[in-house]
Symmetry: C2
Amino acid sequence: MARAATTSDAFNAVAEPRRREILTYLAMRERPVGEIVTALRIDQPSVSKHLGVLRKVGLVRVRCEGRHKFYQTNAAAIRPMHEWTREFEKFWQHQLIRVKERAEKKVSDDRQKPNPHS
Amino acid sequence: MARAATTSDAFNAVAEPRRREILTYLAMRERPVGEIVTALRIDQPSVSKHLGVLRKVGLVRVRCEGRHKFYQTNAAAIRPMHEWTREFEKFWQHQLIRVKERAEKKVSDDRQKPNPHS
DNA sequence: TTTACATATTCCTATATGAGAATGTATTTT
DNA sequence: AAAATACATTCTCATATAGGAATATGTAAA
């Protein structure tokens, strides 16, 4: 089997850096495709294709108005990723504490038995 | 250009569902490869390859002891993803509030002018 | 109804993937 | 030294990209 499709879920869709830029850009307010093109300096067909992927996984919403299409990030679709990464929060906190403890222990030991190099 | 390598960053590495399972499994404590194989029911070569990807992007650490290799999730490497998704928290909160407001407004309207179907 | 504008789609290609199977490499045990 | 154990690597293959170029579709303006 090959790699999972970019349209299979939010994790795969968001793996592409350009798509992350687009999502950030569209988070505050909706924008027409043309503005994404000029603001992020990506070719228009490329933007349309990225938006297609993001739309398929529900990461953006579209509103049509005449010949313009206004896209906006659907932040709620990012929430599951936030929740998944949150599971690891307690672990990186523990790790940081252990690093800190080791550093403090070292300082304490150095006071007892000074560094031979100094 | 093709898709970015799975080893290019945490986002790409984590796009694969099996690798997310492995990271979750290795979060609490280190485990030898064999335990991952039996616990998650993934073929051993596949596990080794996934671990190779995870190691390249710093998502797991290895400790060698005889013919065993103990892998553990390096939670700190997941933190940037958590921070990135966090940027959208305020937006999905706004969206949920707006949805709630609309629902409440509808209830209020319905009291004024009862549903014609009832 | 032409013309201009905004966006989407198609075709192409180099490249990377994940799974399965087979094999390689250390390390330990007998 | 041979056998067993624990992992890693290599090979093949079907599949899916992302970007570039060209073209299509749909809407509005002249």
